[in-house]
Symmetry: C3
């Protein structure tokens, strides 16, 4: 089961890195910009969480094969950027990104809970882990962060997914069950939000 | 007396949060954006200070009722946003913001002084605590930070207020007297700056 | 020899601070903005590195005469801004900035290597130390960071300079020789990149 989670984590890292890559290319950045923005999108949320909670070494220094892989990924993918966008459809990106959001958020909440943080802080750390990569990406690309603009629910799905995880944990279920349920709630809500165009009031 | 300071601190948090809320609404953000920007405006300065000085837990994790209150505040206030702006006049905002600036700045300087930082670093930490919430708010809202643009003195008031606090402390007055004097100097200078349109050279 | 490195470091701080000062003036900021942007440009890269590696006190708090000097520098230089730009030519700035880039980057890599970080992380820390001051400067000035836009090689020079330093260190040369070689490689590549208009693919 731990292997499954690990595979999902790697998928999450590459999905988030790809979204940074796409945005950096759209802004006509060169390879340095592409790698940096991809890196920050993939690892920014977890880094902000680790700094706020004072966890060291940072998770991408502990697993330094991740940034190395993202670096190689950017070099390999950049020349084939156009062809890639034909293969990887919007739908694939949507599913993968929703999965990444669920995994990063619930993972962050679980980690904060393990450090005995107050519940509301656990949820905040979860949401920060899930969305701050994208927030930093948009700040670097000189845009107002997408998740703060009025659009289909995104951070809210992570917020509710983290509460689902915490609720189940407090009810005494196993950690694994609570984590998977939290991820599933986030994923489900995000897909529903896109499907039925759910938005928050302005 | 400690109760008085605590009340003023809560006022400062809500004033700063409100200024984030106003800015987020102006940028047509949804509730997630409104809360995040309000949160970062209120707690961003102190968080940057705590990270630079390596203080943990962060003050808003230690007092986690603050972010919870700001969250509830955003949900309650958002629907009545227009009505609220009629009640809370510019003048009220100006006074409350100037008071918050004084409190956050002198509080930050006092905290750094307690950690035996060099004097110039104490003043920098004070000014950072006072202004960086607004700086981060403006960066997220994709604006050049207001405090850096040519306008009526703002950071400079905090700078001089922190020096006043440090000067009195070095002269051997009680901590309480030095803190209140520092806040008063900041508040007074800020109100004078607005009244007489004091500006720094470009 | 340590004195030489110290002098170069001070030069690096002032070159980077000046580039922040120029950018802040271009954006019509007042003295507070000028100092803050100059400060962040000079110390931002090292601060991000120290936070990521959890090193405290931060290097500019340990050497607090640096920010004090930058503060005095900004106050003294601001009124004579136009005259200064006539004396300090583009060529002088280019050389000094390339030297600063080399020194900051290789210094950062050396520091991370001393903390036994994995090699790829050492190089990343080096590049971050060298370029993140400018990245933060551009974010505050509401621009897409210059180093990420397509231009003559900049971060890439630091990247290769850091690998040169690490390669020599692993080969068993003295630290001093490796550091100077790394700086020389960065400086040389940067000057060649400007001279022959070397760019990365988009």
């Amino acid at each position: 089961m731990s292997t499954v989670l690990h595979v999902v984590e790697v998928i999450g890292v590459f999905v988030f890195a790809s979204s940074g890559l796409v945005e950096a290319r759209r802004k006509k950045m060169d390879l340095v910009g592409v790698f940096t923005v991809a890196f920050i999108t993939a690892f920014g949320g977890g880094t902000v969480r680790d700094i706020l909670l004072d966890r060291r070494p940072l998770f991408w220094i502990e697993n330094y094969e991740y940034p190395t892989l993202v670096f190689i990924f950017c070099i390999l993918v950049s020349p084939f950027f156009r062809q890639l966008r034909l293969v990887v459809t919007e739908r694939v990106i949507l599913y993968a990104d929703a999965l990444g959001l669920g995994l990063f958020s619930v993972g962050g909440a679980s980690l904060a809970y393990g450090m005995k943080m107050p519940l509301f802080v656990c949820v905040m750390m979860g949401v920060i882990t899930g969305i701050f990569g994208g927030v930093l990406r948009d700040i670097i690309c000189n845009e107002i962060p997408m998740v703060f603009r009025r659009g289909q629910l995104y951070a809210t799905c992570a917020f509710l997914g983290c509460w689902a995880y915490l609720g189940l944990t407090l009810l005494g279920t196993t950690e694994l069950f609570a984590v998977i349920s939290g991820i599933a709630v986030t994923l489900f809500l995000r897909l529903m939000a896109v499907r039925f165009d759910w938005k928050l009031p302005g």
